[in-house]
């Protein structure tokens, strides 16, 4: 390593530039995780619904999206995102890069979260549903006040573990021009020709966040998760960890 390339990191401006990227990364992650959670909950309920016109499209969406690379979705929305919304917002509409990235990432993550939520719902004993129905609650009431509160509580550690993937995936939207952490780092090293140093620093920042999240999820226990559900969640985590 060349010795003269480290002193530039004493300059606060460099760190300010990197932290702008970090702020964008965290903001992006928060926005798209919230969106994906809502969409994922709907798809999970759709997949468990007794109505075929709800169930089949949900199954198709979840399985098709999970079989695709996230980057393909992101690049597609990066290129065509504006055109998709022009019929609604008028012919001059330009979809901001940020939201194109959010769309691509949420599409994928909602399918993953839907599977985790479904695993949680299915793992609850049947007696819960039967008792609620016997007490006269409707299907919707059973879901809302009996099944979901229990299932979601059990799924919190699994979803927190998924957050490391969520953070790592944000590094992909740099390819469509969102100025997140990695992209800011790339701008620095194309200026100063020091990719080794910059990439090590960027990797360390990602590592600190993701390591803290994965440790927190491991410490967290909110109840007994049945073995079948745990195996299912492990499979989801292995198959859907990207970037």
């Amino acid at each position: 390593m060349r010795p003269d390339t480290w002193p530039m990191f004493l300059e606060p401006a460099i760190w300010g530039f990197l932290f702008e990227g970090l702020r964008e990364t965290i903001y992006l992650a928060l926005v798209y995780v919230a969106l994906s959670f809502v969409a994922g909950l709907l798809f999970a309920l759709g997949r468990l619904s007794r109505r075929r016109w709800l169930r089949w499209p949900s199954i198709f969406y979840i399985e098709a999206v999970r079989a695709l690379p996230v980057l393909l979705l992101i690049v597609y929305f990066g290129i065509k995102g504006s055109a998709l919304f022009r019929p609604i917002f008028g012919p001059d509409f330009e979809l901001p890069r940020f939201w194109a990235g959010v769309l691509g990432l949420s599409m994928y993550t909602s399918a993953v979260l839907a599977e985790i939520i479904r695993a949680g719902i299915v793992s609850l004993p049947r007696g819960q549903t039967e008792a609620a129905r016997a007490l006269g609650l409707s299907h919707a009431q059973t879901m809302r006040s009996v099944i979901l509160p229990q299932a979601l509580r059990l799924m919190v550690p699994a979803m927190m573990a998924q957050l490391t993937t969520v953070i790592k995936d944000t590094s992909l939207v740099g390819t469509i021009g969102v100025f997140e952490l990695l992209r800011q780092g790339r701008t620095i090293y194309t200026q100063f020709f020091n990719p080794v140093e910059v990439l090590l620093i960027v990797a360390t920042i990602y590592f600190v966040i993701c390591f803290a999240l994965s440790q927190a999820s491991r410490r967290l226990e909110l109840g007994y998760v049945p073995k079948a559900a745990r195996i299912k969640i492990q499979d989801i985590a292995l198959r859907d960890q990207a970037a």
Binding site: M1, E63, A64, A67, L68, P69, V70, L71, L72, V75, Y76, I79, K80, A83, T164, K168, D169, S171, L172, G174, T175, L182, R186, Y189, P195, V196, L199, L200, V202, A203, Y206, F207, C210, F211, S214, Q234, D235, L238, R239, D240, Q241, A242, A243
Partner: protein
């Protein structure tokens, strides 16, 4: 017909597909070798080996694959290490090695789980029969993990096929790269990307079905 555009640009799409398949196979082989070695380190009786193994797994699982790819492709040549004098060859090898080291960390966790799942009595019996530690690993512990790790390894394989698309960010001419080139030439984004989608599905869907069938069969066996 969806995906018909692939036959208008067969050179791009099918070369891209071939590169994706090559990357997947090389990456998976690398991940299996690295993963098994790291897993054995993580359960070994020697403490420093265990620490190195744990550090490897935590580092590579908690940093984005793209950062690792950029480091291998841009960073290493500056420290004086190139995978090949030919630039295309260098990029391709950097991508293949990136796939191997990143997924190796996940393979290591799965194999480690399998190794720890082997009954302790088996290990003690093997040792008391006079097998050395490496012999015990080779003939007793590793063969018994093989069965239980196949379905999770299949899941990692699926992730790997999808993740090869990240190689396009460092300039490997894979399937996604082909779709991007075709889009920029024709402006037919829907067709260009749906062709790539179908070609990705043609790899991940059979793998997914195989893994699910295997899993169901093994649940019954248990």
């Amino acid at each position: 017909m969806p995906g018909g555009i692939a036959f208008e640009f067969p050179q791009l799409y099918f070369t891209g597909l071939w590169v994706t398949i090559q990357l997947s196979i090389l990456g998976l082989l690398g991940a299996l070798v690295i993963g098994t070695i790291v897993a054995v380190m993580r359960v070994s009786p020697i403490a420093p080996l265990r620490w190195i193994g744990a550090a490897y797994v935590e580092f590579f699982r908690n940093t984005p694959l793209v950062v690792q790819l950029f480091f291998l492709f841009l960073g290493l040549p500056l420290i004086g290490f190139r995978f090949s004098t030919d630039t295309f060859e260098h990029i391709f090898r950097a991508a293949a090695i990136g796939m191997g080291v990143y997924h190796g960390a996940y393979v290591a966790e799965v194999v480690r789980g399998g190794l720890l799942g082997v009954d302790r009595g088996q290990i003690e019996a093997a040792r008391s029969l006079g097998l050395s530690y490496p012999q015990m690993l080779r003939y007793v512990q590793l063969p018994q993990t093989f069965r239980s790790v196949i379905p999770p390894l299949g899941n990692i394989g699926i992730a790997l096929v999808k993740n090869t698309s990240l190689a396009s960010t460092i300039g490997v001419t894979d399937l996604l790269f082909a779709a991007e080139i075709v889009e920029s030439r024709t402006f037919r984004a829907e067709e260009a990307f749906s062709a790539a989608t179908l070609l990705y599905l043609s790899q991940t869907a059979p793998l997914g079905i195989a893994v699910n069938t295997l899993e169901r069969r093994m649940l019954v066996a248990r």
